[in-house]
Every structure is written in structure tokens, then in C-alpha cells.
């Protein structure tokens, strides 16, 4: 299958590219390094340097014998989009090309505007490009569990059957998110659902929880093939950030009570989920939605697990509750369904002490590079 990965330089984009390439697919990556540049502008460098895409592709070629094409440019610009889709007419598109940070989207008016314009325009261009250049191609879009928020009823996989005054209707599961970033993903869903119905697109929306991890089968222990490992408040996902705080000897920053429950998954599962969705695609005119998580934790439990694993390695790990800078429910019902990807064949890689230990070991190796002042800055929601 010819697979075009939009946002192929990202935390998930590059591991996905290698994984699909290793499985025999013909892969191309597109990126404009937006995330690299934002991280750099906001003083949030990753734990260790990550080569740019052409160099990664060349390293990957040397270890796997496989080619990954690279296109560098801005997917909000149609002239570039059309060039890419003419040069590499894909059978499938994996769309990661979004500003992915909730706190970044709340940082300032300009950051919010950038998030809104970038995320919506890349999604629109992806739709228009499929329509114009490869109308049969499927789209696999990364959504987020954050679109649902924390409703007081079970979170179903994408859809909700409503009975109201004796009549019935199936709706997209109602979404209400807790950051502008997450809200742009709701808007993406609105847009994709409209064009699925109108133009018969085949779309899978993967509603993903926070991802942790750094190594995949394809990266092995070669750090040059690993994704960005950001640990700052803006671009580091929560568990990755806790691991760096544990090693740096600064307290793990738990927001408020820490009772916020989310669904998590290992980056190894992310790449498998995306592959499974691609290999058993949605049909024309279908918006297929999967909730992409493998287990749920509250934040305090995650912090406790990191503390325990760290202390077992003679790190002095402390946990600190700080006033929640976000506006979110701290105590809430949370019961998401997530059977669809398991039905497609996903074998979950659950969080274990062993996994925490191996991640802590990798972080320890780079302990000298950690810049503790960049970990927490306290972006306030209101």
C-alpha cells in the first residue's frame, strides 16, 4: 500500500513511518517541522537530538534496506499539497499534521490562532487532495479521547444512539473538550463527517489517549531512530514528563487532586493501531471511529507508579500536588469503551514496572542534558 504520512516528523509520525515501511508498505512522510520550531521557540528541546527527516530516512534505509520518501513543506499551502499528491499518489493517508499541544494552544492568542488555522486547514487540504487526486484513498486521522471530555455517561466508540420522546437517532457521540487544541480536533471531526457523507470518503478516526514511550520495535535501541522525547509542559506527554522529573530530582507535578482519569497507551500500540486501521480500512462513505487506549489511570496513580519504579532504582522521587492551572473536572465519571481496535487484532502493551524501568534507564543516560527549568511553566487556562 502507498501510504502518505502527514506530520511524518512528529512524535508518532516517524515511528509510524518506520513501522509501516518495515511491514512492506511504500511510505512517504510530509512535514514542515512546525513542532520542532515551536518547541525550539518555546525553549522546550527534547531530551536528546533527533535528526531531521532526510537523515532519519537515510539511517532507516541503512538498517532496513527500505526507502521512505520525504517531502518538506507546509500542508496549509495548497500549491505544496497538490505537488505532494501528484508526486506520490497514495492509497492511504495518515493525518498527524496538527499542532498537538493543549497547553500550547492556551498559551496566547497567537498560539491559539496558529493552532486553529493550522489544524483546520491541513485537515481541509487533506480532504480536498483526496477528492482531487485519489478519491479512493482512505484517510486515517488521529483524533483524541480529549474530544469527549469527561461526560457523566459511558463514552462509546464515536457514536451514540439516543432515544428521545419515543423516537431514535444515532449521532456522532457529543464532544466537549477542555482545550482549544482538543476543540480543533472536534472541528476536524465535524468537517470529516460532513465530507464523508457528501463525497463518500473512507475515514477512520482514532480517538487516542495520551501516549507514552519512546522505543518501538523498529527503532530498537538506536536513538537516532527514536521520536522526539519532549518532557516540557507544552510538548511532553504526562508520563514522559514524570519520568524526566523523577530522574532530574524535581517533584512530579500533579495538577490538583490528581484524580483526573484518562486512557493511556504505549507508542508501540499507537503504531500498531494505525497499521491495523489501514490494513482493514473503512469503506467508502464510512466514518469509522475507534477509541485508542489500552488502560485507564488517574494521574496520581501514574505518579505513584513512577515514584515506586524510580525509588527501586535509588532515585529520590517525590510527588507534589500543585494548583491545577487547567480548567477541567478533577473528580469525574470515566468509562470509555475501547473494544474496536482489539477486535481488529491489537495486542496491548500494558504499562509495567519493567517498561517504566527501561524508560527511566534511557532518561538516566541523558540526565546531564535535562533542563529542569523548562519542565514546568504553568500555562494557565483562565
Amino acid at each position: 500500500m502507498k501510504i502518505l504520512i502527514l506530520g511524518g516528523d512528529g512524535y508518532l509520525g516517524w515511528p509510524t513511518a518506520m513501522h509501516l515501511s518495515a511491514r512492506g508498505h511504500d511510505v512517504a512522510c510530509v512535514d514542515n517541522y512546525l513542532r520542532r520550531n515551536l518547541c525550539s521557540n518555546e525553549d522546550g528541546d527534547p531530551l536528546f537530538p533527533t535528526p531531521r527527516l532526510p537523515e532519519r530516512a537515510s539511517i532507516w534505509k541503512s538498517v532496513s534496506g527500505k526507502d521512505v520518501q520525504v517531502f518538506i513543506g507546509d500542508l496549509t499551502q495548497w500549491d505544496f499539497v497538490s505537488e505532494v499528491f501528484r508526486a506520490f499518489t497514495p492509497d492511504a493517508i495518515v493525518h498527524y499534521a496538527e499542532q498537538p499541544s493543549a497547553p500550547y494552544s492556551m498559551l496566547s492568542r497567537r498560539a491559539a490562532s496558529l493552532t486553529l488555522a493550522n489544524n483546520l486547514q491541513t485537515t481541509a487540504n487533506c480532504v480536498f487532495a483526496v477528492r482531487e487526486f485519489c478519491p479512493q484513498a482512505q484517510i486515517v486521522k488521529l483524533g483524541t479521547m480529549g474530544e469527549y471530555g469527561t461526560p457523566n455517561i459511558d463514552i462509546e466508540e464515536g457514536w451514540l444512539d439516543v432515544e428521545h420522546k419515543g423516537r431514535r437517532q444515532r449521532f456522532l457521540y457529543p464532544r466537549q473538550a477542555s482545550s482549544l487544541y482538543h476543540t480543533t480536533k472536534i472541528m476536524d471531526t465535524d468537517m470529516l463527517w460532513f465530507y464523508v457523507r457528501t463525497w463518500g470518503l473512507a475515514v477512520t478516526d482514532l480517538m487516542q489517549g495520551p501516549v507514552y514511550g519512546i522505543t518501538t520495535q523498529e527503532s530498537g535501541s538506536d536513538e537516532r531512530l527514536m521520536p522526539f522525547f519532549n518532557y516540557d509542559e507544552l510538548f511532553g506527554t504526562v508520563l514522559n514528563r514524570f519520568l524526566v522529573q523523577a530522574v532530574a530530582g524535581v517533584p512530579l507535578t500533579v495538577y490538583g487532586s490528581g484524580k483526573q482519569i484518562r486512557g493511556y497507551l504505549n507508542i508501540i500500540d499507537t503504531v500498531n493501531c494505525v497499521r491495523l486501521a489501514l490494513e482493514k480500512p473503512a469503506g467508502p462513505g464510512e466514518l469509522r471511529v475507534f477509541n485508542q487506549l489500552t488502560e485507564t489511570f488517574d494521574v496520581l496513580t501514574l505518579a505513584d507508579m513512577v515514584q515506586k519504579a524510580g525509588n527501586a532504582m535509588n532515585l529520590d522521587v517525590r510527588v507534589q500536588h500543585i494548583p491545577n492551572p487547567r480548567k477541567e473536572a478533577e473528580e469525574h465519571y470515566y468509562n470509555p469503551a475501547y473494544t474496536g481496535l482489539a477486535d481488529l487484532g491489537l495486542k496491548p502493551t500494558l504499562l509495567t514496572d519493567e517498561i517504566l524501568r527501561s524508560m527511566l534507564q534511557l532518561v538516566l543516560k541523558h540526565k546531564a542534558s535535562i533542563r529542569p527549568q523548562s519542565i514546568f511553566r504553568g500555562v494557565k487556562w483562565a
Copy 2:
């Protein structure tokens, strides 16, 4: 009350400005003539010329003695937005500043991109400006009944109480629209709802049905004070278009079966609804939603009413069913609630033969200017 009208040059913007000004409010209008320019680019001139905003404001001053300030510029540009909000710090904002045509949004990739970028960025800038310059100000936003689509259950006013597996949650009423334009209004709602919850904004969302009419109490019979009367497929609303077809002697173009039911209202009611919402505002942190319609008709009934009124005036009015260029349900359940604005005091101006006759008379006066070839072009949804 100091009221800033975004999109004050539009079909509804200018009549709203006069109405609020006549009621003693201090009104300013902002516009970049986007709609004028799009109409002109797409060869869809209104039935008779409409002076630009400064001239309208000056005519209004001469007939009413009241000042309406005018700002000409692009609300997607923050430097302009901040200039306007510094110069005229409003107590309330009425936000009409959107590309308002469903068929235009389906015309081409560029038209879709323009609609998306313009509508979302103006709404975002409106939110950011309130936050920065006038955090207590209320926002009255024009939504559309089209956001709901045609679900198989009753359409409530903005919210839906869901019972699911023995638990309950109130959600924004799920929305699924039938054009990209209508979808951008859903996205607006998503964004406003997020910032209402996060920043405590006071927002009223008026979910309006198709509007008809041309004269209001304030315009009287002075055509220079009347709004655009577009009759082309892109920018003319359906009843206005039928009236022009009736006078021009071309068949009324009914799409498909004509069984599509929508909720309609007279432009006189629109300006009253907006005023009522402003004068009894939403509270801080409240997203208040009203369904803004006064009666429902299917399209064929509207066509029949125009035919009857026209034939009574010795026009030879024919009705033609044409293949539906849109993708929409033609036979569907439709039962929207619309009691909220009546509770605020709206006295509906229902559609009568008398109203149709007086509109036909106005159109007849300009019969020589009608360009029949611009009425229907058949923009296809798929």
C-alpha cells in the same frame, strides 16, 4: 448599550444596526465588504444597488438624527480587530461576520477554504477581543438551524438531555449539517462553548432558519436603507429567489421533491430577536441557545404560495422540479422547538399573502434589472 455589529454591511447586519440605533443604542458597524465582493465576483448582483456603509450611515443620520459609526476592515486580521475594539469598547457584540452562503462554500476548493478560514478566524478574534478589551461584554452570535440538520428526533433549543445505561448527561444538541458553510457554524459553536466554559464569556447563539424579506420598520420604503436583495442561487435565500423568478417569468426552481422542511422567519423578526437577546442578556459563563424561526414550511409549499400570490397579480408563475444538486434528505422528520424567543417577547410576523404581494410589488418595480441567467447555476454538492 454600546453595540458593535460585526458584518454590519450584510443582509441582516445593516437592518440590525438601524433597528438597534432607533431603539436608542449606540451602534457601530464593522465590515470588509466580503459579501459584496464575492457576489460581484460570482456575477450575482443584488436586485437594486445598495450604498456602501458610510453613505448608509449618513442617510440614516439624516432620517433618524442618530449616528452609526463605521469601521471598514478585515476581522480576520488582529491588528484591525484590536484597533476597532480600542476605538469602540462595546458592551455587546453582534457577530454576523461570516461567509453566509451554503452553495458558495460548495463551489470550489478555494471557496471552501475561504469560508473555513474567514468564519473560524473572525469568531476566534471576536472571542479574543472580548477577553482582552471588554471581558464583561456579551456576544450575540448568529448560528443556523442548518447546524442541526434533519435528525429523526425533535430538535430542542441547543441542548439535549441524554439518558444512557442508567446515567444522565446534558450535551450540546448534536449537530450534523449539510454544507461546509453550515459545518463552519457548528465549529463556531464548538469554539464558543469551549471559551464560555473556560473564560466565562456570556454568549447567545441564535440558531436561525432561512430569512426572507427586505423592508423593516427602520428602512420604511427608502430603498437606500434596505439590505442587499440577492436573488441568485449563491446569495439569495430561497423565498427571495422564488419571488424574483416569479416576476422574471422563469420557473421557480424546486430541488427534488421539494419536501425539505425548514423553519423560516421574516427579516423584521430577525432584528427583533437580536434586540431581545441583547436586552435580556446571557449571564457570564452561559451559552444560551435559541432556535430562531417562526414557522416551518416545506419548499414546495413556499413555491405554491408564491405561485398563488403571483398569479393573483397576473404573473404567469410556474414551478419546476429539478434534480436536487444538494446532498440532503428530501423526506424527513422535522420538529424543532422554538419557544425561547417568544418567551423573551417576540411577536412573530408570519408569512401572509399580503407580505408576498408587497414583496412582489417591490421586485416588479425592478423587473428590468433582473438578470435571469444569474438566478440558477446548479452548484453541485457531490
